[in-house]
């Protein structure tokens, strides 16, 4: 058995989500290869070669793959899967993986299992459906199994200790269907939401974007990431990349502090696997209290500054 994993990276750094996906591949068993497709991404391949459990790194370094456009990368992955005899193709269930992998599956004429949270056997997996209100056990009937992996469900393998070989892949697929125009990438010194140990999130109750500074102060003391509800994003308080939930990021930190968030099912879907949940809300009937380990009924504009000064 052999698994091909699409490495998540930005041409210079291998993203941690890759390590959780390798863990899922290790649970399946067999050889694990990582594909690094990008431009000027030798450094990523070198990091990938260190990852525990990986036996081979395939490096496709070409301008056509620079922005990892699905139109160009999907045919490369499909070709590798067929010619190099991979039984599984995996990617993290990030926006990059979600964008790319269904295109690969369709080129291979197979289905895709999205967002798996457990490996039951070589062909059977668990995945959440209906915003996590049900967990389906699904068996794949396809010869090549194409799967995206929910990072929070698998403990990452070690980033170091491996010694995989790096092989160059020279095939170039340039579909010339799409072009990269630009991006607005949020720059932050705080940890990434999906890998943070502590997260403090704000909702509509924050009132405006400036008030998120209250949360940032607490975050800096706790080494936490700052998240948000969809309502806070829609109201323009904060950018979309901070959204936690069914249609945003799925997180499972050690500590999740929800401030001024009511606890809609779509929000809970993204954070209810956190180890410890704290809710601060002035409405004691708010549904968030039903999942909170520690609930504080209080006005956030008093409670959060007090929390800040007592840390």
């Amino acid at each position: 058995m052999a698994t091909l994993i699409i490495a998540e990276h930005d041409n210079s750094i291998l993203k941690p989500a890759t390590l959780n996906t390798v863990a899922a591949a290790v649970a399946i068993g067999g050889d694990v290869a990582l594909l690094v497709a990008g431009e000027g991404c030798q450094a990523v391949a070198d990091q990938a070669a260190q990852v525990a459990g990986v036996s081979k790194v395939l490096l496709a370094d070409n301008a056509a793959y620079g922005h990892q456009l699905a139109e160009n990368v999907a045919p490369l992955v499909a070709e590798l899967a067929k010619t190099a005899g991979f039984d599984y193709v995996l990617a993290p269930a990030t926006t990059t993986g979600k964008n790319l992998l269904p295109r690969v599956a369709a080129l291979l004429d197979v289905g895709q299992l999205s967002d798996i949270v457990a490996v039951e056997s070589a062909d059977t997996f668990k995945r959440p459906i209906y915003a996590g209100n049900a967990i389906a056990t699904v068996k794949s009937l396809d010869a090549i199994k194409v799967i995206t992996v929910r990072g929070t469900a698998f403990d990452p393998v070690a980033a170091e200790g491996g010694s995989a070989s790096v092989e160059a892949v020279t095939a170039v697929h340039d579909a010339a269907l799409s072009r990269f125009i630009g991006e607005e990438v949020a720059k932050s010194d705080r940890p990434e939401l999906t890998s943070a140990r502590v997260i403090i999130s704000g909702g509509r109750g924050m009132g405006n974007g400036e008030n998120f500074a209250l949360l940032e102060k607490v975050a800096d003391k706790l080494g936490a990431a700052v998240g948000a509800s969809r309502a806070a994003v829609d109201a323009g308080f904060v950018p979309n990349d901070m959204q936690v939930g069914q249609t945003g990021k799925i997180v499972a930190p050690e500590l999740y502090i929800a401030v001024g968030i009511s606890g809609a099912i779509q929000h809970l879907a993204g954070m209810k696997d956190s180890k410890v949940i704290v809710a601060i809300n002035k409405d004691e009937e708010a549904p968030i209290f039903q999942v909170a380990d520690y609930g504080l009924v209080a006005d956030l504009f008093e409670a959060v500054p007090e929390l800040d000064s007592s840390l």
Partner: protein, 249 residues
């Protein structure tokens, strides 16, 4: 140009589903069904492009049992011009849906196809990307802005790191994110008018597509329940608990 939009019938997003006692599936008997929220946004975007004179016609497609015609009528009431219902017994898997849609694309030759980014029942997030692969067209997933300029669609995408803008050669496949627009409500006169708009029914056989299962659903279980916790009386008590009881700070 024509725009094709797809709509899926799903349970209403306010409904909390329960798993059947025999754990064979979720229980959808008597629950309120609705248009998938992301599909509603797709319809709105297409109608706005027609209203802006960019598109000439909006065709809405749904796949599933007869009941999905209700969602096609909703889309027609929101402003789509005509409907195509591809009748199947159950809602087929994403790849099958994409194969059926690819045939409709070949027949109708739309300049743009807009789908929801994900259906809130299966949460798959696959169909648009699969359709793009099968038709060999460009794809712009998780769109929060779509502009047509010349022979390109400029699509701003909501990605993990922030926002990304791509130029897609037309015809293109776009999937919607929540912030793309705020769908209108259907007015009563428009709901009445929708009843008279054309709705064509086809079968997979008419389209020459044979449906094949790629997955088998073995069982469905409820998620692990979280035990309700406690209420603390003050910030000081909260900090004390987090330090000494939960030991997370």
């Amino acid at each position: 140009m024509k725009i094709m939009v797809t709509v899926k019938r799903v349970l209403d997003y306010n409904v909390k589903v329960r798993v059947k006692a025999d754990r064979s599936d979720v229980d959808l008997a008597n629950v309120k069904m609705a248009l998938n929220p992301f599909c509603e946004i797709a319809v709105e975007e297409a109608v706005r492009l027609r209203e802006a004179g960019v598109a000439t016609e909006v065709i809405v497609v749904s796949i599933g049992p007869k009941a999905v015609q209700e969602q096609i009528r909703t889309a027609l009431a929101l402003g789509a011009d005509r409907g195509i219902h591809i009748e199947t017994q159950s809602s087929p898997e994403s790849l099958s849906v994409a194969k059926l849609l690819a045939k409709v694309v070949a027949d109708e030759q739309p300049g743009l196809v807009i789908l929801g980014k994900q259906a809130i029942d299966s949460d798959n997030n696959q169909t648009g990307q699969m359709l793009a692969a099968l038709t060999g067209l460009s794809q712009g997933t998780f769109a929060s802005e779509v502009k047509i300029e010349g022979d390109e669609a400029l699509v701003t995408r909501e990605v993990d790191g922030g926002l990304q803008t791509l130029g897609l050669k037309l015809p293109a496949i776009v999937t919607t994110d929540l912030r793309l627009n705020e769908p209108r409500y259907a007015s009563l006169p428009n709901i009445m008018k929708a009843k008279k708009k054309p709705l064509e029914v086809k079968t997979p056989a008419d389209l020459g597509v044979e449906l094949r299962a790629h997955t088998e659903l073995l069982s469905v279980e409820p998620p692990a329940e979280r035990k309700g916790g406690i209420k603390v009386g003050s910030v000081a008590e909260l900090v004390e608990k987090l330090k000494n009881e939960a030991k997370v700070i």
